[in-house]
Symmetry: C2
Subunit: 111 residues, 2 copies
């Protein structure tokens, strides 16, 4: 069994970052959410949420559609298919890495 720590150190920070992991995970439970709902769910500030959404959108993990609810603007956010896959894969990978780390023991101990 190869050591999982190098893979651990190389985790994709785009999805691993706590705020974004919260966003994508929340969206994978919601399928869609508007900006303020998402803000309340995650507890992020508006600016922060906006910035993170920008990055997730640029990476193609999230789709953002703006329309008007009555006379007010409103933004709806949803995971893209790749976004859903990446989020799931990340959680699975974390779980896998944890288990492999637990199973691992130093075979070639340092001299």
């Amino acid at each position: 069994m190869t050591a999982p720590f190098e893979e651990l150190a190389g985790l994709d920070k785009l999805v691993h970052e706590p705020a974004r992991l919260a966003i994508t995970t929340a969206l994978s439970a919601c399928h869609e959410a508007d900006f303020l709902f998402l803000q309340r769910l995650t507890g992020l500030s508006k600016g922060n949420l906006s910035a993170h959404l920008g990055k997730l959108e640029a990476a193609g993990l999230v789709a953002i559609t703006k329309h008007f609810a009555g006379k007010r603007p409103q933004t709806w956010i949803s995971l893209t298919e790749t976004g859903r896959q990446v989020t799931d894969a990340h959680w699975n990978r974390l779980d896998d890495l944890r288990r492999r780390s637990r199973a691992w023991a130093p075979e070639d101990t340092p001299p």
Copy 2:
């Protein structure tokens, strides 16, 4: 059940950061390691590893002892007791958050 996403977004980045999570997790499997062994395990550059160890030590998660192996310097690194607890707690929390996220469904859907 309260929504886990806010807690997710607020994860402690000191231990959550991939490189440091790799270091602490590796150490929790090793109990002690020297600098180069740890570097090979994690695949980090020397400078990078040194900097991360500095932060972990400053936070009291890691103990660093320098001695001489023959005539060469050598640094041994080990988790402190709190370091071990924090690392374990973080993995447990991740697992818990994942399960809570999966179980969660929007009760008050956005208007």
